[in-house]
Amino acid sequence: MAKKEDDKGTNPGLNTPLLDQLEGGPWPSFVSDLKQWSETKPQVAQLLNQLEESYENRWNYWTGTVLNVSGYGGGVIARLSDKAEKYPDLAEFHTIRVIPPPGFVYSTERLRNLADICEKHGAGILQLHGLTGDALALGFDNESTFAAAEELMANGWDLGGSGAALRSLQCCVGQARCEMACFDTMKTTRFLTNHYIDFLHRPEFMYKFKIKISGCANDCANAMIGSDMPIMGTWRGPMQIDQEKVAEYIEEKGIEHVIDNVITRCPTRCISVKGKQLLVDDENCVRCMHCINVMHKALKPGKDQGVTICLGAKRTLKIGDTMSSVIVPFLKLDSEKDFENLTDLIDRMWEFWNDNGMDHERIGEFIARVGLGTFLEGCGIEPDPRMVQSTRTSPYINFEELAPGNFEGERTQQPKAWNREPETRESTS
């Protein structure tokens, strides 16, 4: 619908007694902010009035639709108001997803640029950031969506992912400002975004695929339960211990504090205290970060760093929640070759999933259906005991190597298990 930026006279006037109750109180109020903004943008007044009706009737007035910018199969979340007659400016009121700089870092120049473009073409409302990892810009009709998208792209921005595609990647602040970071999260995020930009912009999967990236097990990017493929920082070999600072810490806090908060909390009981020294059984340390968080001055991740890659988390629709599980226990991520290994792995997993998945099947659901063993074999990944919590409990197993010949008689009787060389699987890459 036509924008009416300069004709403030048509502002229908706000009537929002319920929303007004969200103006008081100490937490910053989006209602006050949007009210103020509605002086400039009349459609925002309509938005607030419609929201008020939602509050009054506990009912929603948006319908979803599909809209795409030329060359893209996603990135616009298109909404039509059910109350367009009453609120003509909301008839088309879409959100554009914009890929933010990795780690959500901005220069004010960039952020102002984003706000200016969104104000120029649409309602100008920004949400920083959506849980999907995008910067969200609200309030464009069809025409202004296209215009805004062009101007955004002309200014170095790109649209985010939506639909059955790779979604915008998200990472923690990592090495830019965190001493815990075990690899370069921002670089990895930008690299993967750009490498797989085709998959992000032009959906072709059965369903969405999210990659989120955290510099260590603390998972500030919420990757473990919020993405199909968390890439998590970790290390090999011993962690770094500064025994002098350990002694200082013990002197300051007392030995009981250390026992209660560090020693007894280690999930594998692999850390112990001897006098004023800490001993870590590095072979059994599972890199959970707990002791490092508590004694962050004395302890640090080890020096030989890399990532653990997991796979499969999603929220509850349809088969119930799945959690990510380990798919690559350790991978270095420094050199170009390392990054090639990573994309090679992703390519193989996507290929197997895409060739065999069903419509609307997330990769976690797919693995749950076919079994992790089958999945690994399909992707040419060697099984590794670090991928499981325990071996199986069900004794009903199809041992391919031990199965007798087919009834068709193609396969002859196999040699007895104890006479045979164990078969090693070649990776199919």
Binding site: G64, V69, Y72, S162, R202, E204, E351, N354
Partner: protein
């Protein structure tokens, strides 16, 4: 809204989807394509036919996944390279090939369920 094809008035919605799917003919396809600024060639028409056949059989339209898997097949060594077929589709239909093909084939407009989240 409506368009006129061979002297017959055919109702379409704002975006150009047929209101009554029975109205479809190749000429209607062509008229809708013109409206969207697409010059229909054999490649386009072949895909429109594929969409109609697929819908006839499954009562759902083919997703991009289906197109890339079944029509594109394996191109190149790496999974990455099979994007070529999709790029080709975007060349034919720069704005959302699947929606556009549904429109040209006289199928229902795809719903946003696959587009959000």
């Amino acid at each position: 809204m409506s368009i006129e094809v061979n002297g017959k008035v055919i109702e379409i919605d704002e975006e150009g989807y047929l209101v009554d799917r029975e109205d479809w003919s190749e000429d209607v396809s062509e008229a809708i394509a013109n409206r969207d600024g697409i010059d229909l060639k054999d490649e386009h028409m072949g895909l429109v036919d594929y969409f109609r056949d697929y819908y006839e059989e499954h009562q759902v339209h083919p997703t991009m996944h289906v197109l890339v898997q079944r029509l594109g097949g394996k191109i190149g060594e790496k999974f990455h390279e099979h994007k070529e077929y999709e790029k080709f589709l975007y060349m034919l239909f720069p704005t959302d090939p699947v929606s556009e093909l549904c429109k040209l084939a006289g199928l229902p407009k795809p719903l946003p369920s696959e587009h959000d989240g």
